[in-house]
């Protein structure tokens, strides 16, 4: 199978010299649905911000067959759909339509194509009748689904989600899980929701203190109580 993303020996420090990533390597194949777990401050979000070049550290990030560089950033950002944890950060336009249209418009597509993509993306998250709603009038669950639509409209090769189920009530969480299960797309999802991990992701990557400490079948990792305990995780 072909790699969608390959990260090799990635290092990154924030301005305060706090080392957030200390040599991270992993690969994602087409169709993989992978959970990224680990305690707060393990570097999960930092790693995700590297996957479409918002942060750049030392080391290689390959997306598709291209090495991520300054020159191909626009192309990479269309391929890697990054959904942020707080939908209020993700949804910055006044109306739902404008937010979902933002990505395609910036890819330089024609108006008809943009409108068609918005329709498709909203359909995929089952929110097509929300087109003209104002973002600040939506519930958190609705905002999360719209946030996913805002990157689906760019037809990405891979979806990268930062804690998608955080702060959702059981019904909204269930809707989201069903949605993630049905989306036929490669996925990397950071979460603390171990039940979600067990239910949805065949493969799990465990991070702690800027390193990948385990990468394997979810079944095996969840069975390893020593590993889970050492990195502040719990069996579902």
């Amino acid at each position: 199978m072909t790699n969608v993303i390959a990260v090799r020996d990635l290092h990154f420090s924030y301005h305060d010299h706090h080392a957030a990533l200390k040599g991270v390597s992993f690969e994602l194949c087409e169709g993989d649905k992978v959970a990224l777990v680990g305690p707060n401050g393990a570097g999960k979000s930092t790693l995700m911000l590297h996957l479409n070049g918002i942060l750049t550290g030392q080391g290689d990030v390959m997306v598709g067959n291209a090495r991520l560089t300054r020159a191909n950033l626009p192309a990479i950002r269309a391929m890697v759909g990054l959904v942020f944890q707080n939908p209020d950060d993700q949804l910055f336009s006044p109306t739902v339509f404008e937010d979902v249209a933002f990505g395609p418009l910036h890819m330089g597509l024609s108006r008809d194509e943009v409108t068609a993509r918005v329709e498709t993306a909203l359909n995929a998250v089952r929110m097509s009748n929300y087109r003209d709603r104002l973002s600040h009038h939506l519930s958190v669950g609705e905002k999360k689904r719209i946030a996913i639509a805002t990157v689906l409209s760019m037809n990405p090769q891979i979806l990268v989600l930062d804690e998608p189920s955080a702060g959702l009530d059981p019904r909204a969480r269930r809707t989201l899980i069903n949605l993630l299960r049905e989306l036929p797309i490669t996925m990397l999802v950071s979460t603390h929701d171990m039940k979600l991990v067990e239910e949805l992701f065949p493969r799990t990557i465990v991070m702690d203190e800027g390193l990948i400490v385990a990468d394997g079948k979810t079944k095996d990792i969840l069975a390893d109580s020593k590993l889970l305990e050492a990195h502040g995780l719990e069996r579902p």
Partner: protein
């Protein structure tokens, strides 16, 4: 938690609601400009402008008194003009002492002051009408179509979007303070004024930091979807014949007001 405190749009079906937002924006600005340009004491023209406003009220299905009821919030701002009462030369009307000053109200000053009051009162009502009959995003679109620089429309759009988020943030901070502002049995709640001022200062600082960090995250979210320094939007608004006719008619009426005011 939602705060809709600033959403003044009234969802109704009416002639005015159906108009293109560009027409609404242009007529509103023309009306306000016209009020500002009418000479002092053009009472007939002011009265007719008021009738014009009532007509818009009637056509909007919001009730004749809709803007009138909401107009008084802005009147205190007209008090800034109070100095013209004393500063314009003319026949003295009355004299009184205020602290250490002896103030003389002149007839010309009074005329100017009343005119300013009426002008601002009429203009504020039309602005209230505009935000009641046009959804805010549509107003921003109208400004874009009217070639307002995109940097301005972008700032307005973001301001509108995050105003709600920020106000929610403020309420959360206030609520957090409230729920910890307890009093031990038998003693008064709250510390000294200086201490409370410091707490309020910390909260303001906290709000700034949160907003600052949020702006970083929003910018990242924009970058992640291909933002490269220029904002693009689609806003499908089409001017129909009725829009043109209404715009021309309204502007003609406003011009007529100007002529009447100068007779």
């Amino acid at each position: 938690m939602h705060s809709d405190a600033f959403d003044r749009y009234h969802d109704t079906e009416s002639f005015i609601h159906r108009l293109d937002p560009r027409v609404k924006v242009v007529v509103t600005i023309a009306f306000i400009l016209s009020n500002a340009l009418l000479p002092d004491g053009a009472w007939l023209a002011f009265g007719l402008a008021w009738l014009f406003l009532l007509l818009v009220n009637a056509l909007s299905n919001l009730g004749l008194g809709f803007t009138f009821k909401r107009s008084f919030v802005a009147l205190p701002f007209a008090l800034v003009a109070i100095t013209v009462l004393f500063s314009i030369p003319g026949k003295p009307v009355s004299t009184f002492h205020f602290l250490m000053w002896k103030l003389t109200v002149t007839d010309m000053g009074l005329l100017r002051f009343m005119s300013i009051l009426v002008r601002s009162w009429l203009s504020v009502q039309m602005a209230i009408m505009l935000v009641a009959v046009a959804r805010f995003p549509d107003i921003v679109h109208a400004l874009e179509h009217l070639r307002v620089p995109s940097i301005l429309t972008t700032i307005i759009a973001f301001l509108y979007r995050y105003l709600f988020v920020l106000v929610d943030e403020v309420f959360r901070l206030l609520r957090a303070r409230e729920s910890r502002s307890a009093a031990a049995a038998g003693s008064r709640s709250g510390g000294s004024v200086a201490w409370r001022a410091r707490v309020a200062g910390n909260m303001a600082g906290q709000l700034f930091l949160r907003s600052y960090e949020r702006s970083d995250r929003v910018y990242n979210a924009m970058l992640a979807r291909g933002y490269a320094g220029h904002l693009m939007t689609i806003n499908p608004h089409e001017l129909r014949n009725i829009d043109y006719v209404t715009a021309v008619l309204a502007i003609s009426l406003i011009l007529l007001l100007q002529v009447i005011g100068r007779l």
